[in-house]
């Protein structure tokens, strides 16, 4: 399972990538594998603010739906609209083309409680 070492991880299988005061958010390779073929995503509105661990998106397979929780608090500044017509990108490229949205970070402190790649690997390997 691919777990890049430049990302932060939440226990609920989201990842966050820092770029300046912006952060890209998506779900991990492990998560997309467990969900299987993703057929639809519901993305948040641009401008909406979320606090850490608040549900912010939904990802759906043929027979199930999962809430996605915001890994850090912040305001949505961009969503990946490509996912609406091609949700399979999340399966194909969970860390690049399959990102969900970009946040403007509200509180840098939030990153401290996220996991690094090593700790996340321990979780998924149980």
């Amino acid at each position: 399972m691919n777990v890049p070492n430049n990302l932060f991880y939440a226990k609920t299988h989201e990842w966050a990538r820092k770029e300046g005061n912006k952060v890209y958010v998506g779900i991990t390779d492990h998560a997309q594998h467990e969900i299987t073929d993703i057929v639809h995503v519901e993305l948040p509105e641009v401008g909406k603010e979320f606090s850490k661990e608040q549900p912010c998106a939904v990802v759906e397979s043929v027979k199930s739906a999962f809430d996605i929780y915001c890994p850090v608090s912040g305001k949505v500044v961009e969503v990946n609209e490509e996912l609406l017509s091609a949700p399979e990108l999340i399966n194909q490229s969970p860390y690049e083309k399959g990102y969900f949205f970009v946040l403007e970070v509200a509180n840098e402190e939030d990153f401290k409680s996220l996991l690094n790649d090593e700790d996340y690997k321990k979780i998924i390997e149980g």
Binding site: H40, S61, V62, A65
Partner: protein, 449 residues
């Protein structure tokens, strides 16, 4: 009759396999004695022949097969023989919801064809498999709009069918939503642009307009839709399928959602109880739509087939987060509509609409010439229903008509949810099923009462 094909010999063998001596023992293993019911206090069983005669008796207590000039949401249209023949095939009516797609291609393709016909008639991109009826379809459309726009005001026309308003009010009572009702213009019997313009604002989630409206009048949907869009609200159009053979499609005037009562297509009246609601939406709202949806796909050999799709919207997956709680809907009624529309074809649907409006206009002209009858809306443009004010005794009129086996016009004061204002008003419905002779007879009786 109890329809149980098990003999006492069978039972004995079954009890042996289960390891009990009889049904009582089997039940006592599971249900405490104190909870058991007394013997049911109902009559004994009946044979098929007895049953038929009992229900024939009930049927005869109704006055039925009347020449019907009453509508207001449920209409007496002609149903061609092929509808009963096809819908009456047990392969369709004894099937369950098509969860096992490979064993349900008949039902699934039929729903796909139904959805296609609704899309063709409304011009919209996406239809569901059906709702319970027109009223609940309106209610669900309004909920969809409130959830999508995250706004909390809804504007509805006072010329929306009062049954629909009433059901919608029940449905959205818990959503903290304000309902604003728009008055109609006294002369045209329809909503004027200015009235809507004056009350709409940015907090409105949806504007709900029926066309033709409850009183039969055609609305300027284009203008109303434009005003709605300018405030970023959704335009919900409540339409009569029969009228779509002639009138502009919801897509043509920019509706986001089209809903309505489907009984008019291929379903008998049954006291208002053999109905279905249809709902179609634009592509943008596809994943927000309630209810079942069928999609086309391929099997593993690449052969075309049909499946239930976009299922993660639904209650069996989303539970409390579903777009709606709807499960069983009105598949067989919508199938009747599908067969009906397929029988008529595009050409027949146009003929149907033209016959309705032509006959209604003929009847209107005949009644207008009778002393004591004045059109309620002097500048109204109607489809197949219209309202007259009369100084005659309404009760007497309908009694006289009934003597001749005619179900006369609806007295609007009878509809309590209209809240008065329509005393001495009679609403006539004239479908393609009414003959010239029947209309002449109606006029003749009206003039002599």
């Amino acid at each position: 009759m109890n329809y149980i094909p098990i003999s006492s010999k069978d039972k004995k063998e079954m009890f042996e396999s289960i390891g009990v001596k009889d049904t009582e023992e089997l039940l006592s293993l599971q249900i405490p004695e104190v909870l058991r019911a007394k013997k049911l206090n109902l009559p004994g069983s009946m044979s098929e022949q007895q049953l038929l005669s009992l229900f024939k008796g009930y049927a005869q207590k109704n006055k039925s097969d009347l020449v019907c000039f009453r509508g207001a949401g449920v209409y007496d249209h002609f149903v061609p023989s092929i509808v009963d023949e096809i819908v009456g095939r047990s392969e369709f009516w004894t099937a369950y919801t098509p969860y096992q797609a490979e064993a349900s291609q008949g039902t699934l393709q039929a729903i796909f064809e139904y959805q296609s016909i609704i899309c063709q008639l409304t011009g919209l991109d996406c239809s569901n498999a059906s709702m319970y009826d027109g009223a609940t379809a309106v209610a669900e459309a309004v909920i969809l709009a409130i959830r999508t726009t995250r706004k909390n005001k809804v504007i509805v026309s006072k010329a929306l069918n009062p049954e629909y308003i009433s059901v919608m009010e029940t449905y959205i009572k818990n959503l903290n939503t304000e309902i604003i009702k728009v008055d109609i213009d006294d002369k045209t019997g329809s909503i004027s642009k200015d009235t809507l313009n004056n009350i709409i604002d940015e907090n409105v989630a949806a504007v709900v307009i029926q066309n033709p409206n409850f009183f039969g009048n055609i609305e300027d949907m284009q203008a109303l839709s434009e005003i709605t869009k300018s405030k970023k609200a959704l335009f919900i159009s409540v339409v009569n399928l029969v009228s779509l053979g002639l009138l502009a499609t919801p897509a043509e005037y920019g509706a986001d959602i089209a809903v309505g009562e489907g009984q008019v297509f291929g379903n008998q009246m049954y006291m208002g109880g053999s109905t279905f609601g249809f709902m179609a939406v634009t592509k943008a709202l596809e994943w927000k739509m309630p209810g079942r949806i069928v999609g086309q796909t391929v099997d593993k050999d690449g052969k075309r087939g049909f499946v239930l799709t976009l299922q993660s919207r639904e209650q069996h997956i989303r539970r409390e987060k579903a777009t709606s709680n709807i499960c069983t809907n009105a598949a067989l009624n919508s199938f009747a509509a599908c067969v009906y529309a397929a029988y008529l074809g595009a050409a027949g649907i146009k003929e149907l609409a033209e016959a309705n409006i032509s006959k209604a206009r003929y009847a209107f002209d005949e009644i207008k010439n009778i002393k004591g009858f004045t059109p309620l809306f002097k500048d109204g443009v109607f489809f197949n229903e219209f309202v007259f004010k009369t100084d005659k005794d309404i009760k007497k009129i309908n009694e006289e008509l009934l003597k001749e086996n005619i179900l006369g016009p609806l007295s609007l004061s009878q509809i309590c949810s209209l809240n008065g204002g329509y005393d001495n008003c009679l609403m006539f419905s004239v479908t393609e099923k009414r003959t010239k002779q029947e209309i002449d007879k109606l006029a003749e009786i009206l003039s002599r009462v």
